[in-house]
């Protein structure tokens, strides 16, 4: 009887622990764009790298890169850099969005706005 009770309590604790881990993982999903900085001014004649760090969380799988809301590439590395294509002059929004295995954005993204001159 005591053995059964201990087993049930252990199962409950494991379940709660797993649930807590899942919740923590969901909260940790994030995108950090390290470079360029938000509000930075970029030279239109130079090549620029988007340096990012992603924690996909339980729903995410990989990321898509967007320039002005138009998808430009798929990245499977989660902590890396991406050489941006030539940017048109003016204000540009660069975004990295976490997507699931079906390529659907899961609602976790990071964006910076830059001015290209």
């Amino acid at each position: 009887m005591q053995c059964k009770l201990s087993f049930s309590m252990a199962t409950l604790l494991i379940a709660l622990g797993l649930n807590a881990t899942a919740v923590a993982a969901a909260e940790e999903a994030s995108v950090t764009i390290k470079s360029p900085a938000d509000g930075a001014t970029l030279d239109a004649m130079e090549q620029h790298k988007l340096v990012y760090e992603v924690v996909p969380g339980p729903r995410g799988d990989h990321v898509h890169v967007y320039i002005d809301d138009a998808e430009v590439d798929i990245l499977r590395e989660l902590d890396s850099s991406y050489t941006l294509p030539t940017l048109d002059t003016g204000e540009r929004e660069l975004c990295v969005r976490v997507v699931n295995r079906a390529h659907v954005p899961v609602g976790v993204d990071g964006c910076v706005t830059v001015t290209v001159e």
């Binding site: 339980p58 898509h64 138009a70 998808e71 798929i74 079906a102 390529h103 659907v104 954005p105 899961v106």
Partner: protein, 137 residues
Amino acid sequence: MLAENLSYALVQVLHNFGAAGVIAVPLFALATGQAWMEQRRRLLWLALLAWLVQSLSGSGFGAVSYSFYERLPDLTGVALVALGIKITSTLIAIALTIVALRTRTQHSAAFYRHSWQTLAGLGILALTAAAFLRWFS
């Protein structure tokens, strides 16, 4: 999370079996020479079922995505072209099988062979496009 993964997995199961069917049925017909009328009709029904499963399960991926995130997958460039090829192949194959099923006229063996070859070709095209859709989106 479990519901989402389970939904995608079940749709994937249907899609995989549909994929097997769209290739296996015409290849079986070609390999056996689909000698007599009734066997040919049964195989055509099977081919039609496989293509319908493909189209419905393909739409199912979009439906699952929409139900969980209220948006469809983000597809561009090569992936979008691949999806277009898959849809076009499916529509042609379904139309071809329906026409073949409605035709009661007896044709030459060469005619049937070409029809099955076309269906096999459409299946190969759709499955090849699927790989590009999977990895280029």
